[in-house]
């Protein structure tokens, strides 16, 4: 009911990685102003993984996240999402991928101002075309999952940073996505709040089987992940493949 399957590729075979980047480069600008954000990276992530991406700022990790999240396309190289070549999709097809398979959590929460927690969580469901009754129900369930039951009516300005980020997580998972992309989800939070957020993410990964890709600066948080991918200067230094020893 929630998949517009005629416009979206078939479900993946088990052997195909969910996310597969091959020789992906991303170049911004031209000539003198040219910036090589990604200089040819290979990365495979399988269903159910929890991957942490680390690296100094400017190392290309956010660019990689944008490409994985189908918000951006590679300059060259190939990105296959469950076997589908994303580079060949147009804007609307990528929007459909995001709508149906991906959830985003940002450092700055990115909630709609002057809009209640419930309505924020409902937002992706509107674009899925669900009727209001169903939207309400799914949004309530998602809010309950992140421990915000009873706060549905609160707007972002009435919620703490940690609570706002939990609303954002609820919004990301309300469509029951296959992959959750978190770009420094705890960047604005203290240690205790960060731990709460990480526990929620871990739970989603373990119990709901959602693949999680998280960018972080903090080695402590990377510990929660099953795999660490290290970015340096637009290359991947370590962690291209599954397995901690990489």
């Amino acid at each position: 009911m929630r998949r517009d399957s005629d416009e979206i590729p078939d479900p993946p075979e088990l052997s195909v990685p969910q996310i597969e980047l091959e020789g992906v480069t991303k170049i911004y600008g031209q000539g003198e102003a040219e910036v090589r954000a990604l200089q040819g990276i290979d990365l495979k992530i399988h269903e159910g993984e929890f991957v942490a991406i680390m690296g100094p700022s400017g190392s290309g990790k956010s660019t990689a996240m944008n490409i994985i999240g189908c918000l951006d396309t590679p300059t060259s190289g190939s990105y296959r999402f469950s076997g589908t070549e994303v580079g060949e999709l147009n804007r609307n097809q990528r929007a459909l991928l995001r709508r149906n398979y991906l959830g985003f959590v940002f450092q700055g929460y990115n909630l709609l101002a002057r809009t209640s927690a419930l309505e924020n969580v409902e937002l992706p469901l509107i674009y899925l075309g669900l009727p209001i009754f169903e939207r309400r129900q799914l949004a309530m369930e998602a809010l309950e999952k992140v421990g915000l039951k009873g706060r549905e009516k609160h707007g972002p300005s009435q919620l703490s940073g940690g609570q706002q980020q939990r609303v954002a997580i609820a919004r990301a998972i309300v469509t029951k996505p296959e992959i959750l992309l978190a770009d420094e989800p705890t960047g604005n939070l203290d240690t205790a709040r960060s731990e709460e957020i990480m526990n929620i993410l871990t739970d989603l990964n373990k119990n709901d089987g959602i693949t999680i890709v998280m960018v972080t600066h903090e080695p402590d948080l990377a510990e929660y992940a099953g795999r660490l991918v290290q970015f340096v200067d637009g290359f991947i230094q370590s962690g291209e493949r599954e397995g901690k020893d990489n």
């Binding site: 918000l71 804007r91 929007a95 459909l96 709508r99 937002l123 992706p124 674009y127």
Partner: protein, 403 residues
């Protein structure tokens, strides 16, 4: 989905209620102006029509002088008519049933402490016939009064009110310059004419009285002629022209020094003027609609810039280009429809006020209201499309970074 978009648009408009109102003010004024112009224009056109039909389409008006008359074309003003001309028109032309003489002059009428400037018209009882105008209280002129040039007068409703208030004017004596005349009747009320002049603002006296005591000559200024039922007005007109040419000694090939007008001509002149005025004013009003549309575009562009981050969020959670485009397009359409709706209300109110002030019928037309509504929707689409497309084409990454 559409309902959701609509709800969202209302939400966004109400969030900036003051700004939204100022934005649509241009549309409100434009639509109101067009509606008011067209409605008042239609009202006065209707007024002309009723008035002409009340005058009777079989009425001809004969005036001396000609449109093309100028220096060197016979030297001086052309001669007026005489009472003999009036009788000749009536008796010698079979197609004319009755003709009436009139000569008029603006004069001050005095009764007691009241004085009032009005049109004093010398005529006879045939005037009441050709103008289809009844005396409601009192009586018409006696033949003896007409023959001798007695100082009796019949007054219009307005004159009666101005000089006598609620009192009874019958038998009273009013002064017109050096003559005193007795009121013998009051005319039924006819209301305003198409130019807004009050037809009831009139005093009738016998034509001979007018000639001797006021004008001091034997002239008749204008002749009304009533064409018989079922007879061609055109042919009657030609008959009169031939007769008068003969009587006035106008040779073959010379131009008429008089003018015979029928009501159709007068109607077309009046409605023509009204149509041109209405058209011009409506064009000006339409320009203000255009300006209103640009105002909407401006505010929508501001809104898109302001809400860049919101758009980024929507795109990130999977809104397609079309969905974002629709959201902003619906918002601008709703905005301009609100303007159109308020404009229609204001326009009709203004037109109603105008109808009362100008004493013309209030003639709202469903078609112009619907056109105005449709037009404001089109303004919303045309001027909302560019900002909406800009929103839809935003790069989600850039939009999310926007502060």
């Amino acid at each position: 989905m559409f309902f959701e978009t609509f709800r969202l648009a209302i939400h966004a408009i109400l969030r900036n209620a003051t700004r939204s109102f100022l934005t649509v003010l241009g549309i409100i004024i434009g639509v109101a102006a067009v509606i008011a112009m067209v409605t008042v224009g239609q009202g006065s056109a209707d007024q002309v029509e009723t008035e002409v039909s009340s005058l009777g389409t079989n009425l001809l008006m004969i005036t001396s002088g000609q449109a093309s008359q100028g220096p060197g074309m016979g030297g001086g003003a052309s001669a007026s008519f005489s009472l003999k001309d009036v009788d000749a028109v009536e008796t010698e032309i079979a197609r004319v049933s009755v003709s009436a003489p009139t000569s008029a002059r603006m004069m001050t009428a005095i009764f007691g402490n009241e004085n009032y400037s009005t049109s004093v018209t010398g005529t006879d009882n045939r005037f009441m016939f050709v103008r289809d105008w009844a005396v409601t209280t009192g009586r018409e002129f006696y033949d003896s009064e007409l023959r001798t040039g007695a100082t009796a007068c019949i007054i219009g409703e307005t004159v009666s009110t101005k000089l006598f208030g609620n009192g009874d004017p019958l038998g009273a004596t009013i002064r017109l310059k050096q003559i005193s005349c007795r009121v013998i009747g009051v005319l039924e009320s006819k209301g305003a004419s198409s130019f807004g002049t009050d037809q009831d603002d009139i005093i009738l006296i016998p034509i001979r009285t007018f000639q001797r005591r006021i004008a001091g000559n034997q002239d008749v200024g204008m002749i009304f002629a009533s064409v018989r039922e079922d007879m061609s007005t055109e042919k009657a007109k030609a008959d009169i022209e031939n007769l008068l040419r003969e009587r006035r000694g106008i040779g073959f090939g010379e131009e008429d020094d008089f003018n015979v007008m029928d009501m159709k001509q007068i109607t077309s002149i009046l409605t023509g003027i009204t149509a041109v005025l209405t058209g011009l004013l409506s064009a000006v009003a339409a320009v203000s609609l255009l300006v209103g549309g640009i105002g909407i575009m401006n505010i929508m562009l501001v809104s898109v810039t302001e809400r860049t981050r919101e758009i980024g969020i929507r795109l990130a959670v999977g809104a397609s280009e079309g969905q974002v485009l629709l959201q902003f397009l619906v918002e601008s359409i709703v905005l301009s429809l609100i303007g159109g709706f308020l404009g229609i209300l204001l326009g009709l109110a203004l037109a109603y006020l105008g109808a009362i002030l100008l004493r013309i019928p209030f003639a709202p037309e469903a078609s112009i209201v619907m056109i105005a509504f449709a037009f404001s929707a089109i303004v919303g689409i045309v001027f909302g499309y560019f900002p909406a497309r800009r929103a839809a084409r935003l790069d989600p990454i850039e939009a999310l970074r926007h502060q």
